[in-house]
């Protein structure tokens, strides 16, 4: 038994015939080949699979692909715009916010959402918002620094054009 599921992922619409029980994380990784989102604990504890569903982060191991039908999803692949990394991605590079990188896609998606709503979050706010996501490498310290870096270097929409022109 399958059903047609159409999801707009990072601005592109994809439609697939899938079982209604297929989880969104597997839809993204195995049906669409978007392997940036990581499949971790499978129990909504670790947060490696966090993507945005209609502009809110969600643990995609605990959502059916069917529930995303007709909705939009943003994954880590959608952070980069016109060949430029998102400030949160730059922050993770600048501040060594990852080691093995497994938790990183989820951390990046949550961090982007936090900064969209709280452009200048305190360290405690950053720690709170990622409290449902697990990193076994960094001890979180560098993740917090990375998000703070991104907060201090917000994207100016004209910057890219100026650089391109220059």
């Amino acid at each position: 038994m399958t059903m047609r599921v159409a999801v707009t992922v990072n601005g592109t619409e994809y439609a697939r015939e899938v079982e209604p029980r297929l989880l969104l994380i597997h839809f993204l990784r195995d049906e669409l080949g978007l392997t940036g989102s990581h499949w971790g604990c499978d129990t909504s504890n670790c947060g490696s699979c966090v993507v945005w569903l209609d502009a809110r982060p969600v643990k995609s191991c605990t959502v059916l692909a069917a529930m995303a039908d007709g909705r939009s999803v943003r994954t880590v692949e959608g952070l980069e715009q016109d060949g430029r990394l998102d400030p949160v991605q730059e922050g993770f590079i600048e501040c060594h916010g990852l080691q093995c990188g497994f938790c990183t896609p989820g951390m990046l998606m949550t961090a982007r959402w936090l900064l969209d709503h709280h452009p200048d979050p305190a360290e405690a706010e950053i720690r709170e918002v990622i409290s449902g996501q697990i990193c076994r490498c960094t001890g979180y310290e560098n993740i917090v620094r990375s998000v703070r870096w991104a907060a201090k270097h917000p994207r100016r929409d004209d910057r890219g054009e100026a650089e391109a022109a220059g």
């Binding site: 209604p20 029980r21 989880l23 129990t43 966090v50 605990t62 059916l64 529930m67 918002v129 409290s131």
Partner: protein, 299 residues
Amino acid sequence: MQYMQVPSQVEYERATSVEHALSLLSRPDTRVVAGGHSIIPMMKLRLAQPEVLVDINELTELAFIKLAGGQLCVGALARHADLLDSAVAGELFPIFHDAERVVADPIVRLWGTVGGSLCQADPSEDLSAVFAAVRATAVIRGQDGDRMVPVREFHLGPYETVIGPGELLAEVRVPVQPGTGSAYEKVARRTGDWSVAAVGAVLRLGGSPGGKPGRPVVASAGLGLTAVGAEHFVAAEAEEFLLGRTADEESFAAAGAIAAEHCHPVADQRGPEDYKRHLVAELTTRALRRAAARAGRPS
């Protein structure tokens, strides 16, 4: 691809209105999915194997939090994050904000719903004790109309509620009374974990007829207990004890001891029975202390 955990086979239906949802739910072996953070893990573990899932996420008419007719009305589809962000809920019942800060984690709270928490009827779930403490009423919608069930009669046992086939929890209503203070105290092993034990307290204070001046007495008390096997999540004996007593440390500590004595915790990986009883006594005292302080604050 070999998946670790695959939900059981299921049909998927998306409700486009409450009436549509009620019609879909009248089919046998149907379950509601909203945030999905209870039913989907249950399906992975084969603790639930419904034939049909009815997705109610589009029923935004059930996502409200509002004050109406002297009651705080919380729609079943209100997300945990909505309740945490609600100024009116936090002002009237700080217990909701206390509890919502410690329900799961911030990302789960964006999707998990108030109605889902109540209907999951997990003995360790926080909001059941909170709504029991504030003596809320559940509004259950069926094809023949609404029926009202006190939250203290809503749960029949673990994972079991009074909601029948073809019915849907629509909202929860909480009576608002001036001079009420409330608080929730939880001990968990780590962020996002279930409670080892938790206690919600609601107090309304009155004057002390014939008593010492300036010593308020308890005019009404609500005590909800999480994860310790309390019937209907309530510490009824401790509530009764508190009525008419001076609202002071001595009464609160005695109420804590009574609550600890009458609940039924079981030893599990979160702790032995005597530790959980100790927590109930201590958390009851703390929750009552904070509730009393908040009740005394002019609104």
